[in-house]
Symmetry: C2
Subunit: 456 residues, 2 copies
């Protein structure tokens, strides 16, 4: 396959000239990302500027049987941008135009390289915003490709729910448009949802039409400490059943709160903690936060923000959680892994994995989007220590097995990439074979991000 590479590079250099990069620096940058996995460099990088250029690269790569790996902002966590079979990384970070914003329809169309931060900056004057927020400085194309979500998913849904339509370049270079700007449709197969979460294995997303929302008028924030994850979860379940105007509801465990106090020089209760944000009209948030406080009978302490500065202080603690976690062991980056379970199973899942962690030498603070049953562990291990590597892998695989056993999924929002691939058979059973048939029908030569999601 890679024997065709020199001929392909000749073709690409004619069209793209110095936008074909083959320096070690460029290859390294495009073959490692934020993942804990060992780097796997592409053979070269092409900086694409238009959908037509992406089409041209794919047509050439198909002709030469060379793999293609789409690259957005490089923030993926499970090796989605790695090039284990070499090939061409297509960098789409320069495709960063907001193409159109339709205020009345509350939607917009953007190029894939626009980041969520850049989009919200662009929207500032409209009173509208795009709600999916995650920890990373990610591109919207990459967020769609990995079916990303975040703290506001409990209110607005994930990329699955908020993409109206896509422009996608198929492996043979054909450009298709999925969906429309209509809010709903029953006209044929839902190709939009098929490409969302397909991690570049079926085609490359170059444009997205996205739903937007009005910025709520008012916000109320509180932080609540509980004696146990069970107590915290039960309160969250009641809040969800009552349909309170929750915008965010986030969880941290005792170890994470210890890490936070050390990192932020705070004296917060070192016990399971949730952050709550209500948004809506002033009447709604006032009413619903009061209802929440009434429901939170088992809370040890509720700290409700009375000023905007106060709310910022409360949320900064949550935003800094990953830095605080890593500071438990300076110089160690760790694995950030995630699973998602039915919320009723969350306390059992957390307590079972904490028992596993206790049999190892690894520290693993926990944070989570508790309203969705989704949580993350940061496994702080030294990649130079064989024992710790083995222990970290054991924790990760135990966590995934428990989550699947409890009716959940091996990843709520980070995606499969290379890291979660070993678990898909256990999670999906024969449905994985159906996914593979779709992959083979759409990408028969397996040039689209090969080795991701499954091995064929």
């Amino acid at each position: 396959m890679r024997n065709n590479l020199p001929a392909l590079l000749d073709v690409l250099r004619v069209q793209f000239a110095d936008r074909v990069l083959s320096s070690n620096a460029a290859r390294e940058q495009h073959g490692s990302g934020e993942s804990h996995l060992p780097a796997a460099w592409p053979d070269a990088v092409v900086m694409a500027h238009t959908t037509q250029e992406v089409s041209d690269v794919l047509r050439a790569c198909t002709k030469h049987h060379v793999p293609v790996i789409p690259f957005g902002a490089g923030s993926s966590l499970e090796g989605q941008i790695h090039a284990p079979h070499g090939g061409i990384s297509i960098d789409m970070s320069a495709m960063d135009k907001v193409i159109s914003v339709h205020d009345a329809d509350m939607d917009c169309t953007v190029q894939c390289g626009v980041t969520r931060q850049a989009l919200n900056e662009h929207l500032r004057a409209t009173g509208l915003f795009f709600p999916v927020d995650l920890g990373a400085h990610a591109s919207l194309g990459g967020m769609a490709a990995t079916r990303a979500s975040g703290t506001t998913t409990v209110r607005y849904g994930s990329m699955r729910d908020l993409v109206l339509g896509l422009t996608v370049v198929m492996p043979d270079g054909e450009i298709i448009r999925t969906g429309s700007r209509a809010r709903k449709s029953s006209a044929g197969y839902d190709l939009t949802r098929l490409f969302v979460g397909s991690e570049g294995t079926l085609g490359i997303i170059t444009e997205l039409s996205l739903r937007l929302f009005g910025i709520p008028e008012a916000t109320q924030t509180a932080m609540c400490s509980f004696n146990s994850i069970e107590d915290a979860t039960e309160t969250v379940v009641m809040a969800l059943q009552c349909g309170l105007a929750l915008n965010r509801i986030e969880l941290a465990d005792t170890l994470q709160m210890q890490a936070t106090n050390r990192y932020s020089h705070t004296a917060l209760p070192e016990c399971p903690t949730i952050w709550v944000e209500m948004t809506g009209s002033p009447a709604t948030v006032e009413n619903d936060m009061a209802t929440f406080e009434g429901l939170a009978e088992t809370a040890r302490q509720i700290d409700r923000a009375t000023t905007a500065d106060d709310a910022t202080r409360i949320w900064r603690v949550r935003h800094d959680a990953l830095y605080a976690a890593r500071a438990l062991r300076p110089g160690i980056k760790g694995i950030s892994t995630d699973v998602c379970v039915p919320i009723s199973q969350l306390p059992a899942c957390v307590s079972a994995i904490q028992e596993v962690i206790a049999t190892t030498s690894i520290q693993a603070p926990l944070v989570g989007h508790v309203g969705d049953g989704n949580f993350h562990l940061v496994l702080l291990y030294d990649p130079e220590s064989e024992t710790e590597v083995r222990e970290a892998r054991h924790i990760n695989s135990s966590l995934v097995e428990m989550a699947i056993e409890m009716g959940g999924t091996c990843t709520g929002e980070h995606g499969v990439g290379l890291g979660k691939k070993p678990y898909l058979q256990a999670e999906h059973g024969p449905a994985l074979g159906v996914m593979a048939r779709i992959k083979k029908a759409i990408d028969p030569d397996n040039i689209m991000n090969p080795g991701k999601i499954f091995d064929l």
Copy 2:
């Protein structure tokens, strides 16, 4: 293909005995439904009781190369249950068990034949409900298969959004499970969303896990009359941008209101009218309805319900809209067609189609889920009159062409079946070819509901 039918029927009769029906009455019932299209009978009907039985039927049909048409409640409007190539209709109305309800997780798992009404009856004691509501007495399996939605989609989403996972029988009889009970997942291709809306052309849905919601504490209802569709739509756009607690927001045009006054002996203003329902806490609905009344500056009249009976009276007018429409021309059933456009295009789309209607002899009252940009026309034509048939078809195709031209879709919620098939190429372009490749990969012998969505 149908030469194999006698041998297949012999096999099925051994297993299913008198649950194989081949009387004309059974075939007629299963080959016409609620559609305006001429009936197309299956050769026989099998009454299935379990997923395994559905698997057995599919395995036998694949072996004998005989088509299979899934049948839920027979309420589809575009010929989805018709058997234009003959074959076996699998009737799943007896698969009507609610398998499990998880209060804390706010989800349930049901067999495909459970109707939405039966599910909500079953849930009564839990304080939870399933929100997708449509005009028909439909099965949840059929609603998933056609990607149904309804009046509350503006708040809760459609079947696309509310199905967590499915049990599906594949053409060769293999039983797969898509999704899990986790609220979100990034673990591989979204097969759930692929089967939702596939109208039985890829496999048969036998079980569904569905999201549930808490019944809101309070409700406020109002009916507002406007001078024009533009004024009504502008008010709706503002309400959406403000994020008001809209549960339903429905539109009727002048002709529909005239039909209503005649049918219901009311004296409502005969002009474009919207129904608004707010749900949430008492504080929220009071606040948000007041906000809405402030936004509706252009309303000629606002009739806000002050009692529950009052609200029932207001909604009865909307619920009876179809009967009122048909009563304009007694004995005539008409075509109920639907399209969906970006809401900003709705006034232009309505006024353009009304101009087309004015050039014909057809009456076509309009109702719509205006918050989604989705509307329905009931085309009251006499199927015995060649002129009226031609005019009705002309209106329907003009409507679809306009909707696609305006960035919308040929069907917001009724599905493709046989009726909307001619428009998919115009709507999807080359993406339709990708759908066909998926169909061929999953159902290579084209036995699953052949002739629906596309001809291969």
